[in-house]
């Protein structure tokens, strides 16, 4: 390979887009040619500088606006749908999807089951243990009631003490069903009252051995703004030995803009996990 041929391939070599044979040829030429080596290093520096640019993330408004747009479009289709006698879907389906979305595990679980209920044959997920599969099946059946929960707590504006009573009532149930669990996660994620959110978390403690509970708490953590609740959630995840929480805790531990107590709790938690 001569200099021109080598230099033509340098960007691909640096991006790992060359096949092994060509890579070997390019490297052999580089070993022998200082001119191409210089070119290689200059392009490499430029690319790595490009790669270290901070990754921007959008404001929460983007997600809100996009889902609002989606809901509006669905509403505009509603009359046609009614005429076609389609089964009605819970109005807050997307909102719940939105709550649980950003955490990897939760996104997988919920994405899978929401997508599954709507437009996929209910194929069993390979790689999941039977208990988790069973849980997912039950959750599939619960989408409607979860939608109702969101409707009640957000739209009907019942009083804080009423919502608190509802959460506390679940503490008396020895084996609450998946609907109750989903309601508690919904309250933790969405309730405007700090007290209700903290109580929901307390009520979830006995069920922290369920993957969906840990995923739900983990998914809600990045959205929580109140340091009290944030610390309680971190403690919850640590007590549940939730190793999936490590990346989220690392991010909190590094974040200078959040409350000192939250950062410390995250560091403590990381040491324990």
């Amino acid at each position: 390979m001569n200099c021109t041929e080598t230099q033509e391939r340098l960007p691909d070599e640096l991006s790992g887009r060359l096949d092994p044979a060509e890579t070997a040829e390019v490297r052999a030429h580089l070993a022998a040619c200082p001119v191409c080596r210089h070119e290689h290093s200059a392009l490499g520096q430029t690319l790595s500088a490009l790669d270290t640019l901070p990754i921007a993330s959008p404001s929460p408004a983007l997600r809100r606006n996009c889902y609002a747009m989606l809901e509006a479009e669905k509403r505009s289709l509603a009359p046609t749908r009614a005429a076609a006698a389609r089964p009605s879907r819970p109005a807050h389906f997307s909102i719940l999807r939105w709550i649980l979305a950003p955490a990897g595990v939760a996104a997988l679980v919920c994405g899978g089951f929401f997508a599954g209920t709507r437009f996929a044959p209910p194929a069993p997920a390979p790689g999941l243990d039977p208990a988790t599969k069973q849980e997912l099946a039950e959750l599939r059946a619960r989408v409607d009631s979860v939608g109702q929960l969101v409707g009640m707590s957000l739209l009907q504006q019942r009083s804080t003490s009423e919502r608190l009573q509802n959460v506390l009532a679940t503490l008396d149930q020895r084996n609450p069903g998946q609907k109750v669990i989903a309601d508690l996660i919904g309250s933790l994620a969405l309730d405007p009252s700090t007290n209700v959110r903290l109580s929901a978390l307390d009520a979830l403690y006995p069920h922290s051995n369920q993957p969906i509970v840990r995923s739900g708490v983990l998914a809600t953590l990045p959205r929580e703004q109140n340091p009290l609740v944030q610390v309680a959630m971190i403690d919850f995840l640590v007590a549940a030995r939730s190793h999936e929480a490590v990346p989220a805790l690392e991010q909190l531990a590094r974040n200078d803009t959040i409350d000192h107590a939250v950062r410390e709790a995250a560091k403590r938690g990381l040491a324990q996990l």
């Binding site: 520096q45 640019l53 996009c66 669905k74 999807r97 599954g116 437009f119």
Partner: protein, 214 residues
């Protein structure tokens, strides 16, 4: 040039790209992007939520670097998803979702640039780091920040077409076949353009570094 595109129609045969990233993974029961978009086309609008979750981050990252402006990038992402909804009926059975998305993205960006008189404003690196999510960067040292600023300036000095192809090839995990589909050119041409853009960036970047030292 971009601004003179006709209406959005996904009729270009160059979208017929089978991206490996969109192949159905038999090991999961999650749907591929393509299947989700077909579901949206068939009226299951909620599937767009899943597509949003999967793709808005990388699309936003691309548009922030392309426009140099966070708010513009957010507006464009929203417009892209709006257009996906509006033009969902034009999505084709053999389409590639990511290629379509970036195609819409650069089209919407072109509209944005046209409305804002062609040139992007010089990027204020602070504007790109003011978000709480990026707080880890807030503590980075001045030298690193300077280097980022330098690179942003260098990126902004490239022609928009060059910047676009460079960003698509470096950050978006797209094959050159897909990039060719997005840019509506041949695979060879897409490659040549990406390589030329990288060399251009290297020249500007090193020149700026030299200027800063002297």
């Amino acid at each position: 040039m971009l601004a003179s595109y006709p209406d959005i129609r996904v009729t270009s045969p160059s979208f017929v790209v089978n991206s490996p990233s969109e192949a159905v993974d038999p090991a999961t029961d999650t749907l591929s992007d393509h299947e989700l978009m077909l579901a949206v086309r068939d009226g299951e609008l909620d599937a767009l939520g899943e597509l949003f979750e999967r793709h808005h981050g990388p699309l936003f990252g691309f548009l922030v670097k392309l426009t140099g402006q966070r708010t513009a990038a957010e507006d464009i992402v929203q417009t892209v998803f709006q257009r996906m909804l509006k033009y969902r009926h034009t999505y084709r059975d053999e389409g590639s979702f990511t290629a379509w998305m970036y195609h819409l993205g650069r089209r919407c960006a072109a509209d944005y640039f046209r409305r804002h008189q062609a040139t992007p404003a010089a990027t204020d690196p602070a504007d790109l780091q003011d978000h709480p999510d990026e707080a880890p960067h807030a503590g980075e040292n001045a030298a690193v920040r300077d280097d980022h600023a330098l690179l942003h300036t260098a990126l902004n000095r490239l022609d928009r077409d060059d910047r676009e192809v460079l960003l698509l090839s470096r950050f978006q995990e797209l094959s050159f076949a897909e990039i060719a589909g997005i840019l509506e050119c041949s695979v060879g041409a897409a490659k040549v353009r990406a390589h030329r853009a990288l060399r251009e960036l290297r020249d500007v970047y090193f020149q700026l570094q030299k200027q800063k030292l002297s």
